[in-house]
Symmetry: C2
Subunit: 403 residues, 2 copies
């Protein structure tokens, strides 16, 4: 008898099932008001245009769209990413060799982990951290250096102290990257200020440390001024930019991208070759043809308007129903999440079970800490439920908290 447990690898033993998946398993029934998932509203998907194009692509371009493709990705799709990064992010000078197409940005995160992280490496990340990044990186066994998130992004003093300390220990070369989600952080909802982006970059350059900038939500801005990407500020120097179509087009289509230094992109492509040969050529070409239409951001504007309203409904409801001394929450200018901090005596994991009983779900804050700490935070996603349900759901949560 082959006993699987006895032959599993060290990597596999580091893997942890996402708490989010476990938590949401029982709460997918429709009677529950879910603030849990980060899935976009399917009514925002441009299904008719995609349906028409998918037929066209298969009939006319089947020789490409159904055949093996280059590991690096479809050049037509790269053309579109390059155009959009230029038009909307003022990023210039990107060549095909600076870009790798991935199966969502989750694969981009995994490839970054795979090509950079050893067991004696350090990865600097925010606390709370995006769970998908934590699970991708953790498999490779690095030590995490966690930096607190503030209302305007990473605590830069902590970053500086940590870098200095590593440098003094002679271990700075073991720090492989600083990972950051500067726009509308998941779960925290906060956006890194221009000053902090510049300060982070200055420190990264001083210590020759790579910055991994992950920007899945950047196009979902509801208020305030766009802030330049760190990649843009650095002119690409020492920064790798990750992006995805998941939040602006469809997550099920699984199209992400890595832009950066040619050597890093080439190494990531080599890793991808062993990982899945290539991203599906059909979905790549479909997304390329869709982006060529040039209508995506007009289409998106409607979704942005829906999300903005839902976000405001949730903030209003929080003001109305969660009147607890010491409770506070972020007021995101974009993205999909509000991060609520209750007074320390609350354990949102315990509260979660009670919430489910009154028909509401959210993600307890502990899910977003590397150290699995007890947390009085909760991540609330406002994207999926209709407005009246958002109000009702927060009312129920408020009642629970007060009781």
């Amino acid at each position: 008898m082959v006993e699987a447990e006895k032959i599993f690898s060290k990597i596999s033993k580091r893997m942890k099932s996402s708490i989010i998946r476990e938590l949401l398993k029982d709460s997918t029934n429709t009677s529950i008001i879910s603030f849990g998932g980060g899935a976009p509203d399917p009514e925002t998907f441009d299904r008719k245009a995609l349906a028409k194009l998918s037929q066209k692509v298969l009939l006319e371009e089947y020789r490409i769209a159904l055949q093996y493709g280059a590991t690096e990705g479809d050049s037509l799709l790269k053309d579109q990413f390059i155009r959009i990064l230029k038009e909307r992010h003022e990023i210039e000078g990107l060549d095909y060799d600076n870009m790798l197409i991935t199966v969502g940005s989750q694969q981009a995160l995994d490839l970054m982990g795979k090509i950079f992280l050893d067991e004696d490496s350090y990865a600097m990340v925010s606390h709370p951290i995006y769970l998908g990044a934590a699970s991708a990186f953790r498999a490779y066994g690095p030590k995490f250096i966690t930096i607190d998130l503030e209302d305007d992004g990473l605590n830069i003093n902590q970053v500086e102290d940590a870098l200095k300390k590593l440098d003094e220990k002679g271990e700075i070369s073991k720090l492989k990257f600083i990972y950051t989600v500067p726009n509308f952080h998941n779960p925290a909802g906060v956006t890194m200020s221009l000053e902090k982006r510049k300060a982070l970059l200055k420190l990264a350059h001083k210590y020759d440390v790579l910055v991994l900038e992950d920007d899945p939500y950047g196009e979902l801005r509801y208020e305030g001024e766009k802030i330049p990407d760190i990649y843009k500020l650095a002119n690409g120097e020492g920064v790798v930019l990750l992006n995805t179509m998941s939040k602006i087009m469809s997550p099920g289509i699984r199209i992400g991208m890595i832009a950066g230094d040619k050597k890093i992109v080439a190494k990531a492509a080599l890793a991808k070759q062993g990982a899945d040969l290539c991203t599906p050529t059909f979905t790549q070409r479909l997304v390329a043809r869709y982006l060529e239409k040039g209508t995506i951001f007009d289409k998106m504007a409607k979704a942005v308007e829906i999300y903005r309203r839902k976000k405001n409904v949730m903030l209003d409801a929080l003001d109305k129903y969660v009147k607890v001394d010491g409770a506070k929450w972020t007021k995101p200018e974009g993205g999909l999440f509000i991060w609520v901090t209750l007074p320390e005596k609350y354990d949102t994991m315990k509260l979660f079970e009670k919430a489910k009983k009154v028909g509401v779900s959210y993600i307890p804050g502990s899910a977003f800490y590397i150290d699995d700490r007890v947390s009085s935070n909760m991540r609330l996603s406002f994207c999926l439920p209709p407005e009246n349900q958002i109000d009702e759901g927060i009312r129920r949560i408020g009642k629970l908290i007060r009781s």
Copy 2:
């Protein structure tokens, strides 16, 4: 300045670019007769049916086909795989929990490497080996135990000797699996006999070693009797089966599958969660709906007929043009490849450059050996060029060899 080379991981340093990719780079121009790639003939793709279905799926099932999906895969697609494995392979008792949908079988190979292989592990593989498996496994740093391939599959005596030796050294638990492509091996074209399948299984069970059975080509049988899968012979006990839609439907659609023990499947799903969250939901649902039609194997019959004829044209041409003492080649009953063995004085890597000059390409045998040995083998794929070009291409190769 971040110097990428200085911060790349150990895993990334083990990765090697596929020689095949490098070799085929310059030979994709259409004036060259290519026996190189293993890509199916795009005219065999059922593009019209897929085009129609893709539109329908996006219009009617966009809530699933454009949204995040379960890491384990679309249940409707699993239904189809389970049905096909039952109807065509007499494999019974497969449950959803026994199956993981992957981005092609390359991802299945990578996940197997990731959850089983450590640096001090052994992986037993055939020599020659399927290149994609070598590149997936190599990243995790195992030692390879290579077993010669014979006309009827793995040399079972070598397998037995190697197992015995590991057992005596007390290292048998470090052997994580025996990897085999029993049907129409890539590159060797050979099929493992029923006797050898049983003998391999007996040895694997005796030493409690997992068998990884990879069957991408099984449905491409042109002659002879179907031989039961090792998985079937073992009743699933101690065997993991990998399969893919790449050769019977489309490689660009990137749908593969792992079937096996629930614990192994669960661990592979955990690894996939970190690797890419899920296989694109759109392509999964599209393939599910396509398989539901039940026409795939009738449709395939035409492709099989085309490939059978091409294979025979190539075998005839080899008989006609490659009259060199000591030269021999496999006579595959299916699949896409013929494996030519020239007398030892020939170095097919050197010959490759000359072949390109006369407008033919193939893959030199050294690509398929872990130790990068000089090889007098060549892998010839007959699936892509039209029949007259197959004859002409082999004529040119024959002339080269004789000169």
